[in-house]
Every structure is written in structure tokens, then in C-alpha cells.
Amino acid sequence: MSKKMHITLTVNGKEEEFLAEPRELLIYTLRERLNITGPHIGCETSHCGACTVTINGKSVKSCTMFVAQADGADVTTIEGIGGPDELHPLQEAFKEHHGLQCGYCTPGMITRATKLLEENPNPTEEEIRFGMAGNLCRCTGYQNIVKSIQAAAATMNAAKEAAE
């Protein structure tokens, strides 16, 4: 086997340091090495988006990135977005508007949507459909995902306004 590489990562605010083969994929690191199982594997070809995470502020499909490429990066997964004590408005909205069924795409979907709303806090339905096209869902037909993202956007904008 090839020589192991020394990797450091910050995942959901926690620093991680380990040795990994150059061929180790980031999704494998997250799921198998770090036990972060929110991101899922759906296709291993960058099509489905179930493995979507945020790396240095950008949505990335972790199934087709070597962990070595992410050396030194800041990684956020669904686990870092919100938890039982404080849900992210998107997590609330997906529950409220039936934006999920089997739940397999949901972590990637919500993770991607956090970036979409950062980039465009007031997206139209068309912009949401375009901006979410890297994440496949086999259950919902997307209509309630669009609705969930619109509702979360409204909540987040109202909160922002109230804070200003």
C-alpha cells in the first residue's frame, strides 16, 4: 500500500488528526473513521448528492473527494448544522412541510440548502430548483422540498430583520 499521509481536518468545529492512505475518500473518513454517518453514499459518482457536506464554505460531494484534498479544511456536515437543542430553520421547515420521506437524501439536501440560502436568501421556486439540482430525491418529487426551503428562507429573513 502507498505511504500514508498526515491529515488534519476540522469537522463540525472539532479538530481531527490522523494518517490516511492517499486513496481514502472523504465520505469514508467521515463515516468510517469519524463515525459521522449523517452524510450518506448513494452513487459514488457525484450525481446524487446524498454525501453533500460544506467545505470551506462551499457545497461539496464528499464521495468523490480524497480526504487528502481536504487536508486543513473546515468541514461541516448535517451534524454540525443543528441538533436537538437548537434546530436549524431548514430542519424545522423540512419537518413542517413534509420535505422528506425515507430520509436518505435529507442530510445532503439540508446541508446544500444552507449554502443555497447563504448565497441567495430570497430564492424563487425556479432558483431553488436550479440550486438544488445537484441533490437527488427519489421519494418526494421535490415539491415539498421547494416549499420547505421557501419557508425556511422566510423564517430566517424574518429573524434577521428582527435582529436588525
Binding site: M1, E21, R23, E24, Y28, R31, E32, N35, I36, T37, G38, P39, H40, I41, G42, C43, E44, T45, H47, C48, A50, I78, E79, G82, G83, P84, L87, Q91, F94, K95, E96, H98, L100, Q101, C102, G103, Y104, C105, T106, P107, I110, E125, I128, R129, F130, M132, A133, G134, N135, L136, C137, R138, C139, T140, G141, Y142, Q143, N144, I145, V146
Partner: protein
């Protein structure tokens, strides 16, 4: 002063049937805390993966595993030779055939399992697979079922060519079965004598359910206690336990099968696959837990294709359009092994629902199953057994007949619908439709889309196209479907001899909350939410106080699982019936507590009240406590019930779908302007979830009709083995849907519910496909096979001479 709690408040507090209760499953899924099979980790767990055949038909002359055994991290490599002493190199299929677990001398489809490498992790397993050397001797490949029936090439050399198959006589070594329904001679006479006959070959192409989560399992043999635990993506965990017991010889009480959260199923996860058998054997051999997870290519190439039916049809009618007879001969491509998931007596599923929503007095159906060098399967991809094939067939034949009669296709449907007063309706192919009101649904749908105006606009667009003003055409895709779901009555429905009942067991806790366990398993349908709603309405405890648990064979009552929209019709009925048993005992307890006769109390929402004295009552919560703390003469302590429900009939959901689609003649691209879906699934348990099911099923229908296929080349190579080639629509390609409903309860179901999850796929595919056909009707198109991707639609236009 505190506001009085009204009866309506009490009803609302239950969140029972008819409310859009939010899903209890969602908290864990939205926080990344689902527990899918690949999330399971056990101490010392190994990983197994397959060496797969690159050839579609070949002899395996040698397998050399020695180099693989030298690969760091590889512990063992299993081949058929290793499994043979255990009798596990072949396994029974759900269709009465048998299938190789690992290649036994030859391979019959590309991707077939040849050897199983067991390693410390996935990377080591992949390295081991690379190092296994397999010698193949290529054989002639057959990918066409018609050619297969004429060929001298015998695919299944393990079968006696003259012996009957599981479903009767075989006509050719590559023939599997002939299955017939209806009256052959009478139908042929009607067709010969008919004023008008339309004839067409309708191909419903091979596709795949492709849930986002692939299939997989973790097998863990505890040698100390002799217990095997098998976690996996099983749509039918109890049936899997029985199959594992039958083929392994391990007694059923020593096997625990658990379906954890499942990332979508759609039929893909009904069958028993080689990976399950190999994982179990590998765990026994190594003494360690073994995980096997398909990658996407494995999934698309090997487990559970759907459809692949060539349906030759003849439909006879009077000049006025009254249908007099329907004839269908189907050639069914089953691939290398017959591993269809159908009830035993129905090798072509419920294809004999192909008279659809119409009162067709005489009909005949024959289906020939055929072996080819393609993957085995034939599962019901988001439909009841072969029902989407049947619905597509009849809804295309109606359109072709409308062309033959030069008649409006909506009107042709209307004059042939089974009338509301004809239910229960005996169909010519042997079913008893339970209830329906098709005319009401149809009129509502046509009005909702403004049908007459759409036809005028369509005619104008044809004129504009002909005069060179526009290059776009409008298609109005009509579909009125009738499903048959809820398999099924034990008298005629079984899988591997297991009757297709289902079950529910309820325990009421002393403080008035409850747990109910069922023989089904949710894969996204929201059972934990909706079954609690059924119970809430039946037993008067809030849905929020009821836990629903499925999927663990050590705790759940035996059931046949979730597919074919059977959960609500069968397990939902079992839930209601078990709830009624609880209520019957609660009534006796209430009467005792209120010191009146049992007959003098009646159930009211969440309590039993003394008849005529509503101020005297005991709530179900109080009754629950009393069941555990009172010594009531003649009544056992506790409050529990179990029901095994054998449905008296199937249920027959129906719907009216209309797709309005613009097509660009020059690019073949389509744009869906409107999609209206009216569903009648009987009593509605949770409207929010119903709507979600319809959206999802329509999107799967969109995929199938407009681009998705499992395609092979002449060498038997799968051309669509990744999501690069296999079409799954994104949010961008998916239209906005309008949903609607009518409600015609099932008369034989305890709560009148019929099931809905699969209706949108069954009705959606014909609606999308008919829209494409309809756009070109004015230019003479009769039939163009799916999928209608841009290239194929462009070709339709080109062949019709529309590109000048």
C-alpha cells in the same frame, strides 16, 4: 375559568385519521441520526464484496483466488465450490425457480456474482477483487426474448428442457411459463366479428427502482449462543427470516432479522439476493460480523430490474366506440433466472387487471415468461405486481382505439367506464372490483384542466405549426387507471407458501400510552406516523402517545412486509382490528368501573360514556390504568391485543391524471405545463402524506416515461449502469403537480382505506407517455416506445417528416 374542552377539541387532540399529522420519523432524519444498514458498526466487522462477471453468457472454467489471498486485509474468498458442500451455491427464488448464489460453472448475465471476497475493510475487499483471476469461455448472448424462444442456445443447462417449470409446461428450453386468464376463443370470436379493431405492440421497457440507498446487509453469527442476527434493507423481514432458515437449516427462532431505517425501496428490496447468503456464510466461516453493501453499479446491473414486457394487444369496439373485447399476449423477459417477486399463483402478477377502468365484457390474456442473458428480477417498481404494465397497456390501447375510431380519447374512456352502480364489479379477467365512481372523478379532472379549451389550443398549435408560425406542439396526456393492491387474500395469495396476511400487536401501558408492532416495514411511507393515527381513532389515545415499531422479527408479529401498496390495506386493517379488540376489553372495564352493564356504555372519541348520561364516563387513559390495578371479576389484567388480518379481497384505488406537455419539434425537448392528479384511495388517513406519496410516485413515473431505462447492447453489456446514464430527475426537470381527490371507501376494509403509494406511478406513466403520443397524433403517430427522451422524441418528429 378554564375553557370547556369540546368534543371537537378531544377529536383534534388525538391527531387521528384524516389529520395531516407531522411525521414522527423526521426528527432523526433531519438531524442525520437515521440508522440505515450502512450506519451499523459492530466490533471486528468485516466487509464482503463480489467479483462479478464482465460477460453476459460464459462458462467459468477456472477461478484462481491465490493472489487475492495474499492481499493485505483479505481474509477469505468464497466461490461456488465453497458453498456447494453447504448446499448454498444455489438458492430458491420467490418465483419457484432457483438462482446461483455464486457462478456454478457458468454465468448468465453481466454483473453476475462469481466470488465473494471477505476483507477487513472496503478498500482491502476492492484490492482482493482485483486479484481474483477468473477464466471465462464466452457463449452466444441472447438479449431478445423473441429470439430466445427460437434459439438453439440453451441458457439454463441446469434445467431438464422437457420438464414442467414451477408454473406448468414449458415450450422451449428458454421458456419459463405460460399464464392465461379469461376466455381465449370467445375473445377471438368477438375480435373477428367486431366493427372496429385496433391492434398494437406496446413495449414497456426494462427499468429499475433505484432507491437512493442501495441494497445491503450485516450478518452476525453468534457461535456461542447459536444465534444469527441479520440486519438488512429488507422490505419483507419476516419472509427473509423464513427463507434464511429454510436454506441454511438454522432454526427460525435462532434467526433475528432486523430492517433498520430503509432509504427507499420501491420493490428493489423485496427479493433475496446473493449478497445476503454470502454474508451469512462469511459470518459463519469467519466468526465475525460481515457487512455487504452494493455500490450503485451493482444495484442497477444486478438486483431487481422492473418491467420488460412486450404486450401485443387487440381491442374491439362498435363504430360508436363501445368496447366489446380485449386480447393481449405478453412476452415477458425475465432474464437469466426467474426471480420475479409475485404471489405464487400469479407468475405475471396481477397483469389481468389490464381491462383497466372499463366495462369490457370479453377478454383474454396470455403471458409467456422467457429466459435471456439479462439480470433476474421483475419486481413491482412502485406498483402492485405488474399493475403498471397492465395500466400502461390498456391506457395505450384506448388511445390507439381512439385514433382508429377518430374519436376523442376522453369521450371514449367515458362511454366505456364501469358505472358506479356496477360495483362490486366482476371483470372479464377474474377480479371483483370493490368500489369506484369513475365518471365523477373523470369529469372533475377534465373540468379542472379546462379540457375543451386545451383541445382548441392544441388544434390552433397544430395549425400554427403547419403554417410555419411555431415549432411547438401540445400533447394532452390522459389516463384513468384502476389499481389492484393489498395482496392479499390467503386463499389465493402466498409467497413461498406464506399467506399474504399481515399483523398488528398492541400493548397499552398503564398510564395510557401504547406501543404497536406490525409485520410491515416503512421505507419512507411514514408508517410510524399513520398507523398511530389509525389506532388513535380506534382506541381513543393520542397518536402522540403511541409508538409504532416495525422490522424486528424478534418482537414484531409475523407479516409479509411492505410492497404492492399492501401496508394500509392489510396491516392497516390489522391495526384497526387489533384496536377494536382493545376497545372491546376496554368497554368491559369501563362498564365495571361505571357499575353498569357492558351494553350500557358506548365509545365516544377517547372514552366510554354511559348511554344517555354523557357526564358519566371513563376515559381510555383511566381505563388503561384500571386494566393494571383493578381486580375485575372475569377479566384478565392488562390491555393487549393482536390481530392477523386476512383480507377478503384486494382493494382497487383509482385515479384520473392529465398531463399537459409542450414539445419542441426540433429538439425533442418537452416542457410540462400542467400535471393534474386526482386520486381516490378510499378513506384518507393523512392527507399530507398522501400528497407526498403522489408527488414522489409521479416523479418516478416521469423518470420512467421520459428517460429511465436499463439498456443492453447485443453483447449483453449494461449500457446504463451509473447515474450518469440512468435517468433520475432533478428538482429542475420535475414539474409542479396539482393534486386532488375523491373519496370512495372500500366496502370490505375495516376503515375503508385502499392504499395510495403506488397509484401515481401506475397512472403517471401512461399520462406522461400519452402526452407525447397525443402531441403527434395529428401527424399520424400511433405508437412509439418509451422512454421518451429528447433524442427519441426528435426521432419521432423526424420519422413523421416534421423536420421539413
Amino acid at each position: 375559568m378554564k375553557d370547556e374542552v369540546t368534543r371537537d377539541d378531544r377529536i383534534a387532540g388525538l391527531k387521528g385519521m384524516g389529520t395531516s399529522r407531522k411525521r414522527v420519523e423526521d426528527a432523526r432524519f433531519t438531524q442525520g441520526k437515521g440508522n440505515y444498514v450502512d450506519d451499523i458498526k459492530l466490533d471486528g466487522m468485516l466487509f464482503g464484496d463480489f467479483v462479478r462477471s464482465p460477460y453476459a453468457h460464459a462458462r467459468v472454467t477456472n477461478i484462481d483466488t491465490s493472489a487475492a489471498m495474499e492481499v493485505p486485509g483479505v481474509l477469505a474468498v468464497l466461490t461456488a465450490a465453497d458453498l456447494e458442500p453447504l448446499g448454498l451455491h444455489w438458492m430458491p427464488t420467490l418465483a419457484g425457480d432457483k438462482q446461483m448464489v455464486l457462478a456454478d460453472g457458468k454465468v448468465l448475465f453481466q454483473g453476475q456474482e462469481v466470488a465473494f471476497v471477505i476483507a477487513e475493510d472496503r478498500y482491502a475487499a476492492a484490492d482482493g477483487i482485483e486479484a481474483v483471476v477468473v477464466d471465462y469461455e464466452e457463449l452466444p448472448v441472447i438479449t431478445d426474448p423473441f429470439e430466445s424462444l427460437k434459439s438453439d442456445v440453451v441458457l439454463r443447462e441446469d434445467l431438464d428442457p422437457t420438464a414442467d417449470g414451477a408454473h406448468g409446461p414449458r415450450k422451449h428450453p428458454n421458456h419459463i411459463f405460460t399464464w392465461e386468464a379469461g376466455e381465449k376463443e370467445a375473445t377471438e370470436q368477438v375480435i373477428d366479428a367486431a366493427e372496429v379493431v385496433a391492434e398494437e405492440m406496446i413495449y414497456y421497457h426494462r427499468t429499475h427502482p433505484c432507491p437512493l440507498e442501495t441494497c445491503g446487509c450485516v450478518a452476525s453469527m453468534d457461535k456461542v449462543n447459536g444465534k444469527l442476527t441479520l440486519w438488512g434493507t429488507f422490505q419483507a423481514p419476516h419472509a427473509i427470516r423464513t427463507v434464511v432458515s429454510l436454506i441454511s437449516g438454522i432454526e427460525e427462532h435462532n434467526i433475528r432479522v432486523i430492517s433498520p431505517d430503509i432509504g427507499g425501496g420501491f420493490g428493489n428490496k423485496v427479493g433475496a439476493y446473493a449478497g445476503y447468503v454470502c454474508s451469512v456464510v462469511a459470518s459463519i466461516v469467519t466468526g465475525k460480523p460481515v457487512k455487504w453493501i452494493e455500490d450503485r453499479m451493482d444495484n442497477l446491473m444486478t438486483t431487481a430490474f422492473a418491467r420488460d414486457y412486450w404486450m401485443k394487444g387487440k381491442i374491439a369496439a362498435t363504430k360508436e366506440g363501445k368496447i366489446t373485447g380485449l386480447w393481449c399476449h405478453t412476452t415477458a423477459d425475465h432474464g437469466g433466472f426467474d426471480a420475479c417477486a409475485d404471489p405464487t399463483k400469479f407468475p405475471a402478477g396481477f397483469m389481468n387487471i389490464c381491462t383497466g377502468s372499463y366495462d369490457i365484457p370479453t377478454a383474454y390474456l396470455a403471458v409467456d415468461g422467457v429466459y435471456t442473458n439479462k439480470a433476474p428480477g421483475g419486481v413491482a417498481y412502485r406498483c402492485s405486481f405488474r399493475v403498471t404494465e397492465a395500466a400502461y397497456f390498456i391506457e395505450r390501447m384506448i388511445e390507439v382505439l381512439a385514433i382508429e375510431l377518430n374519436m376523442d380519447a376522453a369521450e371514449l374512456r367515458r362511454i366505456n367506464f364501469i358505472k358506479a352502480d356496477q360495483f362490486p364489479y366482476q371483470s372479464a379477467l377474474g377480479w371483483e372490483y370493490d368500489s369506484g365512481d369513475y365518471h365523477t372523478a373523470w369529469d372533475k379532472a377534465l373540468n379542472a384542466v379546462g379540457y375543451d379549451n386545451l383541445r382548441r389550443e392544441q388544434a390552433q398549435m397544430v395549425e400554427d405549426f403547419k403554417s410555419g408560425k411555431s415549432r411547438k406542439l401540445l400533447g394532452i396526456g390522459l389516463c384513468h387507471f384502476t389499481e389492484i393492491v393489498g395482496a392479499g387474500p390467503v386463499k389465493n395469495c402466498d409467497i413461498l407458501g406464506l399467506g399474504m396476511f399481515d399483523s398488528c400487536e398492541i400493548r397499552i401501558h398503564p398510564t395510557g400510552s401504547a406501543i404497536a408492532r406490525l409485520g410491515t416495514i416503512s421505507q419512507g411511507q411514514g408508517h410510524a406516523t399513520t398507523f398511530a393515527q389509525i389506532l388513535a381513532s380506534e382506541i381513543g389515545l393520542p397518536a402522540d402517545s403511541i409508538t409504532i415499531e416495525e422490522g424486528d422479527t424478534d418482537t414484531a408479529p409475523y407479516g409479509l412486509g411492505t410492497y404492492g401498496s399492501r401496508s394500509t390495506p392489510v396491516a392497516g386493517a390489522a391495526t384497526a382490528m387489533a384496536g377494536r379488540k382493545i376497545r372491546a376489553k376496554a368497554q368491559m372495564i369501563a362498564a365495571y368501573l361505571l357499575e353498569v352493564h357492558d351494553d350500557d356504555v358506548e365509545f365516544d372519541v377517547d372514552r366510554f360514556v354511559v348511554k344517555g348520561a354523557p357526564e358519566r364516563f371513563k376515559t381510555m387513559k383511566e381505563i388503561a390504568f384500571a386494566a393494571y390495578n383493578q381486580a375485575i371479576p372475569g377479566i384478565e389484567p392488562g390491555l393487549e391485543a393482536v390481530s392477523y388480518y386476512d383480507p377478503p379481497n384486494m382493494t382497487y384505488p383509482f385515479g384520473a391524471y392529465i398531463c399537459v406537455m409542450e414539445i419542441d419539434v426540433d429538439t425533442g425537448e418537452h416542457s410540462i405545463r400542467q400535471f393534474y392528479a386526482l386520486d381516490d384511495c378510499g378513506t384518507r388517513i393523512n392527507p399530507m402524506i398522501i400528497e407526498g406519496q403522489v408527488h414522489g410516485g409521479l416523479t418516478e413515473a416521469l423518470a420512467i416515461a421520459m428517460g429511465q431505462e436499463i439498456a443492453y447492447d447485443d453483447m449483453g453489456n449494461v449500457k446504463t449502469g451509473t447515474l450518469m446514464d440512468f435517468f433520475l430527475p432533478t428538482a429542475w426537470e420535475t414539474p409542479h403537480y396539482t393534486t386532488d381527490h375523491t373519496t370512495t371507501p372500500s366496502p370490505h376494509h375495516p376503515i375503508g382505506a385502499k392504499g395510495v403509494g403506488e397509484s401515481p406511478n401506475v397512472g403517471g406513466v401512461p399520462a406522461f407517455s400519452n402526452a407525447v403520443h397525443d402531441a403527434f397524433r395529428a401527424f399520424g403517430l400511433r405508437q412509439a416506445h418509451m422512454p421518451h427522451d429528447h433524442w427519441r422524441v426528435w426521432k419521432i418528429a423526424n420519422q413523421l417528416g416534421l423536420h421539413g
